[in-house]
């Protein structure tokens, strides 16, 4: 919206017929023009031109504005950690966001091109453009809540993860005897190798009563079988004390625990799950040595959620929210450009035997290049000035890591008791220098077209 890049120029025209007859007429023309331009001149002069000049001058003075400090304020830009972080982040924004927004806009525009209900899709994607970046920030702050029970994004990931690797039946548990070895939360292996006819006692403790899987029954001491290995996985804990490593009354079997059987080489040859009383059996085994292990899946922790708003992910998180807002802009502008491509050019390419991809890559994209560059440049300017979305998505705890130039400028100048207008002005001028190439580009384009 602001920071619009321009190429538009209506057809050239002749100047209105000149009735100029001498200086008097010329003066009259000036007077009329001045009357029409006056209000605009006042606004542009007082609110843009004068302050811009003042800001440039102010940037060479110290905090209080009394002492001329030459470029010291500009040095701060590259020496203080806070500002270096802001510039680094903003560089990342420029490197990532305009390209992504343009690419997404192009993809959406092409996909919707020949779809009958494209208006509905475009409206859905374009809608965030109408709402404030602050509201968009609030929306995404809710999306990003870490607890998968509350944050939409983590809830979605948790649901997808539950399909691929479900939460184990015993997220917290540890072996009751040193016979069972392994990393916490990983596979627990019975140290002693077993032979057919042996019994494996796999005792676990540190399981809170409410974490015992539903349906657990009194644990049973397994009977040995001739050609197999039997065993039990049970909660080796008896209220009031008991003997460790021994199945006793009031101790529960742990159902649905996955138990692996490995041969001496370590290769897994069979798996089974325990019954309600905790027992399991591997039958029909050849003579030899085997090891028994409780599979690590048993202890898989539930997904705790990504910390989207934490210090590590905060900048990508804010970018996602921003792309969500701006993709619609890119899509609409590119779609309009797409609609202007002559149909027969594409048809000619197809008739010549080009595949759809070739048509897209060799015909559509080159013809769209001017529009793609306008979208890209507009986004670069917007991204350089990004402010609202950062302040609203990033919570106080990670705002320092998410800092950007415009936010740093505002904080240094206006938040706190005494702002530093010297450094603040220098940051503003720095921002202005960054958009200067676009300003010159706009001016050159216009001069050429006139």
């Amino acid at each position: 919206m602001s920071g619009t890049s321009i190429t538009a120029e209506p057809p050239p025209r002749e100047a209105p017929p000149s009735h100029a007859r001498g200086a008097g007429d010329r003066l009259r023309k000036w007077a009329v023009a001045a009357a029409f331009l006056g209000p605009a001149a006042v606004f542009l002069g007082v609110w843009i031109v004068y302050p811009a000049v003042r800001t440039i001058i102010r940037s060479f003075f110290d905090k209080d504005g009394n002492e001329f400090v030459w470029i010291d304020n500009y040095k701060e830009l590259f020496t203080t950690d806070l500002l270096r972080t802001a510039i680094k982040n903003n560089a990342l924004w420029v490197a990532v966001v305009p390209a992504l927004v343009t690419a997404i806009g192009l993809i959406f525009a092409v996909l919707t091109e020949r779809v009958r209900w494209s208006v509905a899709f475009k409206t859905a994607v374009f809608m965030p453009m109408a709402i404030s970046l602050l509201a968009a920030g609030v929306i995404w702050r809710l999306m990003y809540i870490q607890d998968p029970d509350q944050g939409t994004l983590n809830a979605g990931i948790a649901a997808a993860k539950a399909v691929v690797s479900p939460t184990g039946v015993l997220p917290t548990a540890s072996p009751s005897t040193p016979q069972l070895v392994g990393q916490p939360g990983k596979t627990l292996t019975l140290k002693k190798p077993l032979q057919p006819g042996d019994v494996a006692l796999l005792g676990l403790t540190a399981i809170p009563p409410e974490a015992v899987p539903a349906g657990a029954a009194q644990a049973v001491d397994p009977q040995p079988v001739r050609n197999g290995i039997t065993g039990v996985v049970w909660r080796d804990f008896k209220p009031g004390g008991g003997v460790v490593g021994k199945v006793e009354q009031q101790e529960q079997g742990l159902p649905r625990v996955k138990v692996d059987l490995r041969e001496s080489g370590g290769k897994r040859i069979a798996s089974t799950t325990t019954a309600d009383d905790g027992t399991f059996a591997f039958d029909d085994l050849d003579a030899g040595r085997y090891t028994v292990a409780i599979s690590g899946q048993t202890f898989a922790k539930p997904f705790g959620g990504f910390s989207w708003l934490g210090t590590k992910l905060i900048t990508p998180s804010v970018m996602i929210a921003y792309i969500w807002v701006w993709a619609g802009f890119a899509m609409v502008v590119i779609a309009a450009g797409l609609a202007a491509i002559p149909r027969d050019v594409l048809e000619a390419a197809r008739t010549d035997g080009a595949t759809e991809w070739q048509v897209f890559r060799r015909v559509t994209v080159p013809l769209l290049a001017p529009i793609l560059s306008v979208v890209f440049i507009t986004m670069v300017i917007n991204v350089l000035k990004v402010f609202d979305i950062v302040i609203s998505v990033a919570p106080g705890s990670s705002q320092a890591e998410a800092n950007v130039i415009a936010l740093a400028m505002w904080r240094i100048s206006f938040s706190g008791v005494a702002g530093d207008f010297g450094v603040g002005s220098a940051i503003a001028v720095f921002l202005f220098i960054l958009v200067l190439p676009v300003l010159l580009l706009n001016v050159r384009r216009f001069r050429r077209e006139v």
Partner: protein, 297 residues
């Protein structure tokens, strides 16, 4: 959005196509439809998330996600909205926002229309140079003005006033507004103006009776832009206001408080986006036109 355009660009239906061919043709496009439906829904989820969150009691929000509303519709309540309605400061913020947005829409349009007409149809020396200067101002970041205007407003007593905000928005809305209107006005047929001039109409009369009515489509686009832009502003109001808080600033101050009060933030955010959305849906066509006029040929 350009419905007619989209229809016109639909693949031409092949004449004499058999039913089998037709089914094949539709099936071939099925993946595209599915992808679009999924993306479209994904794009809507965040906004709906905010809406459904605003319908839950704070204790329910703490207990689980907004999707609870679907499993237990009885949880939905308008309590937070009625609280919001009774919250004097939020009501006042909405009123302030409306004042700023309306003022900062009407004023720049009027000023820009005058200037746009001068740039399009008045002949005076230096016209093109002045216009190029306006174009140069298009991308000047408003950060360049914040500090001096802050001092100026303090001196003039404009700090923390609606008027101060309106004037600032007006100035920074002008370059785009003048650019857009000048380009639109210049497309008005020359004969129309010439005959009016020959009839002896004054420039002001021509402006009021001819240019403004003929320029209405462009003015509508501009009005929507400017309204959304100023309604949604945060930075300007945050800088030049303290008690004059539009809704964005009010929400932000809730957001930064320790233990943010979601039962205010969620409904207030939703209320703040209802009006811009309504404007957007009602005048989508003008909005898109303005966007295109501003960015591409």
């Amino acid at each position: 959005m350009a419905v007619a355009e989209a229809e016109a660009r639909m693949a031409p239906r092949v004449v004499g196509e058999s039913v089998a061919q037709r089914i094949l043709r539709v099936a071939a496009k099925a993946p595209v439809h599915i992808v679009l439906i999924v993306i479209g829904l994904l794009w809507l989820v965040p906004t709906f998330g905010l809406f459904f969150t605003s319908l839950l009691a704070p204790s329910d929000i703490a207990a689980g996600g907004w999707w609870q509303v679907f499993s237990k519709p009885s949880l939905a309540t308008l309590q937070s909205y009625s609280d919001l309605y009774n919250n004097g400061s939020i009501r006042h913020s909405l009123w302030t926002t409306l004042q700023i947005a309306v003022g900062a829409t009407v004023l720049p349009i009027f000023v820009a229309a005058l200037a746009g007409y001068a740039f399009a149809w008045l002949d005076f020396p230096g016209r093109d140079w002045l216009f190029v200067f306006v174009i140069a101002l298009l991308v000047v970041p408003l950060q360049m003005a914040l500090i001096p205007i802050f001092s100026l407003y303090n001196d003039l007593g404009l700090f923390d006033t609606v008027l101060g905000l309106v004037l600032f928005h007006t100035a920074f809305g002008l370059p785009f507004a003048i650019f857009l209107l000048r380009n639109f006005f210049i497309g008005i047929p020359k004969d129309v103006l010439e005959s009016a001039r020959i009839d002896g109409a004054s420039e002001l009369r021509i402006f009021l009776r001819l240019i403004l009515p003929l320029g209405l489509p462009a003015i509508a686009s501009l009005a929507i832009f400017q309204f959304l832009w100023t309604w949604n502003d945060l930075l300007v109001a945050l800088t030049f206001g303290r008690d004059t808080q539009p809704i964005t600033v009010a929400i932000l101050s809730q957001l930064s408080e320790f233990g943010s009060s979601i039962e205010i933030i969620a409904p207030a955010s939703f209320v703040s986006l209802v009006l811009p959305l309504a404007v957007f849906f009602a005048f989508q066509r003008y909005f898109v036109q303005g966007l295109l006029a501003g960015s591409v040929k």
